[in-house]
Symmetry: C2
C-alpha cells in the first residue's frame, strides 16, 4: 500500500499567499471593475533591466544555432555566472567566497526548502516569528516538528522579533542546531547591524549550529552600517549558508534565477560526532536532483554585473525604495508605529487591531491589498506588511485611499 | 550540533555521469587535440525548433516592458501551457487528463526526486535494473534503503530487465508500494506494449501501489502499438503519476521545462488506511517549495504545440531516430546483440565483456564516448548504452571508428 507523508496533515490551512489570493479574487468577483492596488505579495512590477533583456535575447539566439546551442549545463551553474557573483557580491565587499562555493538555482524558495535534505531528521530548528512561512512549512513537511498547537508547532524554537527587541531576536536559551535568519527582514523590513549579526555567528560557532542566512533583499541596503552578506562577519564561513536571489535585485521573479552559497569550511556532524563538509553533501544533492538553470536565464543574470546592468538594477531598487519611503512616511503620519521602509522594500505596520481585520478593511474600504502580519506567525498578530513593489503613482494613490478609508 | 543526513554516506561513489565526465576529461588532457565523439550522456545537440525560438524571444520582449512584464507566475505553470499539454499530449490520444492535473516544472529529474516527499518513509520501493541512477540515489538519500551490498541496496525490490524477459521485468513477487517504470526505456531503449503495461496497472490497482511512469522519451515512438502515456491504459488514472519533459522532445535540455501529471483519482493511504488524494499533496509541495518555470521558457514550450512547432519537433526526433537506426544496424552488423534504437534514441548493446572495459576501449581506441551499462545497475553489467543524440555525420564517423577499433 502506498502510504502518504502524514506530516502534511499537520500543516495549518493553506499557504498564506494562496489564502490572500482567494480573498482578493472573491472581492473582485463581488466588485467587478473596481481597481485594486496590490501591495501584498512581494512581487516586482517593473520590466527587467535593459542589459538583462539584451543578454537574454543573445542567449536565446545561441540556442537557435547548432554551433552555439547549449544542452545540459553544469548543475551548479555556468562558470561565467558563478565567477561574477563571487567577485561582485562577495569579494568586492571583503567576503572571502569563491566561485565554486556558489550554487546557481531557479529560486531561493526551492533552495531554502531543499537544503534541509542534507541534515538529520532530529535536529532542533530555530525560526524567527514573524517569519516567511516557507521556512516553517517545509520543516513541518519534513517531519521536524510536532503538531500545531495554538498557532505554534511543537518542538520548534521560536525567535520572537518584536517592537521590544527592535525586531532582532535574542539568542536562543536552549540549543538550536539549524537557525533561520533573514536580513533585511521579510516580513518586518528590519535590518541587522554587523555587531548583532556577529553575536549570532559566535553563538553558532560555540554551539556547532548552522545559520541559514536569507539575504534576498540585500539590494535594498543603502546604509553603510548594514552588512550585505553574513560572510562580512568573521567566522561565518564555518557556520553559515547564504541564500540570494535575482528576484528582488533585478526583477527576476518571473524569470527565475537565484543562488546559494555553501562555503567549503561549513561543517555538519554525524551521530559519532565526526565532521563532514556540507559543500560536498549539497553538491551531491544539487547534482542528483537538479539539472541547472536555463542557459538564456543565466546569461540574463550575468548581465546584472555588467556596467549598465549595475546602474540599471541600482535604479530599479531605488525606485522601489522611493515607494517604501513614501509608505513609511504616510503610515507614520497616520499615527502607526512602523519599521522597515529603509534598506528594505517592506514596511511593517502596527495596525492596533487584528491583522486580518485590518487586511479586510484595507481591501474593502481602500481597495488596497497588503499582507496580514498574523500570516507570518504569532508575533505578527496586529501587524500588516505593506510592500513597496508597485508603480509610484499607484503607491501614492493607495496611501491616499488608505487615508480616506481610515477617516471614514 | 548540526547533524547531517547520514543516508548520503550509503551512496556509492559519485553520480554516474560525473564519473564518465572525469574519465573523458582525463583522456582529453592526455590526448590534446584528438576529437571525441560523444554518444554518452543523453543530451541533445541540435538547435531549438524555430517556432520555440520565436516564442522565446517574444516572451523575453514581454519582460522588457512594464505593461506586459510578468512577475511570479502560478507555481503549477501557466494555464496557456497546461491546457495545450492536456489537449495535445493526452486527450488527443484518448487519455482523459485535464489541465489542472498537469504540474509544469523545470525538469523531470527534479520532479522524479521531489515527488517522494509526499510519501511515507517506510514504503517499499521497486526499481528496474538497469535503471536511470537518479531513481535509486534519491531513494537512498531519503533513507528508504539499507546499505549497499554487492551493488544493491538492502530493502529495495529490483525489477530485473534482461535479454531473457525482453527487458520488461516480471511483476514483483512481494508487495511493492512505489514502482518506477520508464518506457521507452532509459537505458535499454526497449518499449512496452499496451498489454504489458496493463499488467502493471492491474498489479498496482490490486496492491494499492503507485506507479511512477517516466515517459521522457515518448516523442521517439513511431510504432502505433506502443503507448505514449500510461493513461492510455484503463484504470491508470487511479494508480499512476507520469513524468514528461521537453528536454528530449524539443531539445530543451539547456532550456529547462518539463511536467508531471498527477490525476485527481490517484490516492495514497495514511497509517489508519484512510484514503488521501495525491493531487492535493503534490500541489502543496509544489506550491511551497517551487516558484514556477521562467515565463519566456513556458512560452517557448507552448510553441511546441503550434502547427510549425509540431512539424519541427517531429523532424527533430526523426533526425535522432535516423542516427539510432544507423547505430542499431552497425552494432548488430558487428555481431552484437542489441535492443532499442527503434521508438527510442538509445541502443543497448551486449558488449560481451565488462562494461567499463568496453567503455574504456571505445574511448581510447575509437574516440567514442558511450555509457557503461554497469553504471545503471547489476543487470547492466556487460552492456553499454549508445545514444543517438549527435550529428548524423559524427554518428557515422563514430560507427566507422568503432568498427576499426574492434578490428585491431
Amino acid at each position: 500500500m502506498i502510504k502518504i507523508n502524514e506530516n502534511y496533515q499537520k500543516l495549518q490551512a493553506s499557504y498564506l499567499f494562496i489564502d490572500i489570493a482567494r480573498r482578493v479574487s472573491s472581492f473582485q468577483k463581488d466588485n467587478p471593475g473596481r481597481e485594486l492596488i496590490k501591495l501584498g505579495i512581494g512581487d516586482v512590477t517593473r520590466a527587467l533591466p535593459k542589459a538583462c533583456i539584451e543578454a537574454f535575447h543573445k542567449g536565446v539566439d545561441e540556442m537557435a544555432d547548432d554551433s552555439t546551442f547549449r544542452g545540459y549545463g553544469p548543475e551548479q551553474g555556468y562558470e561565467f555566472l558563478r565567477e561574477k557573483i563571487a567577485e561582485n557580491d562577495f569579494r568586492a565587499r571583503g567576503a572571502d567566497i569563491s566561485a565554486d562555493e556558489i550554487f546557481v538555482s531557479d529560486g531561493a524558495k526551492c533552495d531554502n526548502g531543499n537544503i534541509q535534505e542534507i541534515f538529520a531528521q532530529d535536529i532542533k530548528i530555530a525560526i524567527p516569528d514573524p517569519v516567511y512561512p516557507v521556512y516553517v512549512d517545509t520543516n513541518v513537511m519534513a517531519g521536524r516538528t510536532g503538531n500545531c498547537i495554538d498557532g505554534r508547532y511543537e518542538g520548534m524554537i521560536y525567535l520572537e522579533s518584536t517592537k521590544e527587541n527592535n525586531y532582532i531576536p535574542e539568542l536562543p536559551s536552549s540549543q538550536a542546531d539549524l537557525i533561520y535568519l533573514c536580513y533585511p527582514n521579510n516580513p518586518t523590513g528590519a535590518s541587522i547591524s554587523r555587531k548583532q549579526l556577529k553575536a549570532w555567528v559566535d553563538y553558532a560557532r560555540e554551539n556547532k549550529s548552522l545559520i541559514l542566512f536569507d539575504a534576498a533583499y540585500e539590494a535594498f541596503i543603502r546604509d553603510e552600517k548594514v552588512p550585505h552578506s553574513i560572510y562580512e562577519i568573521e567566522g561565518a564561513r564555518e557556520v553559515a549558508v547564504e541564500f540570494r536571489s535575482f528576484s528582488k535585485t533585478a526583477g527576476f521573479t518571473g524569470t527565475r534565477c537565484a543562488y546559494t552559497v555553501v562555503p567549503k569550511d561549513c561543517a555538519g556532524y554525524d551521530s559519532k560526532g565526526d565532521k563532514h563538509y556540507l559543500h560536498g553533501l549539497w553538491n551531491r544533492r544539487h547534482g542528483t536532483k537538479f539539472n541547472g538553470v536555463s542557459y538564456p536565464v543565466q546569461k540574463a543574470a550575468e548581465a546584472v554585473y555588467s556596467e549598465q546592468g549595475r546602474i540599471q538594477t541600482r535604479e530599479l531598487a531605488d525606485y522601489y525604495l522611493k515607494n517604501a519611503s513614501l509608505i513609511l512616511q504616510e503610515m507614520t503620519g497616520l499615527g502607526f508605529d512602523c519599521v522597515g521602509g529603509e534598506n528594505s522594500p517592506y514596511i511593517w505596520v502596527d495596525g492596533k487591531r487584528d491583522s486580518w481585520e485590518f487586511f479586510d478593511l484595507l481591501l474593502n474600504k481602500a481597495g488596497v491589498v497588503c499582507t496580514p502580519g498574523a500570516g507570518f506567525g504569532k508575533c505578527g498578530q496586529g501587524y500588516i506588511r505593506i510592500s513597496a513593489f508597485n508603480n509610484y503613482d499607484k503607491v501614492k494613490k493607495a496611501m491616499l485611499q488608505i487615508k480616506q478609508a481610515l477617516a471614514e
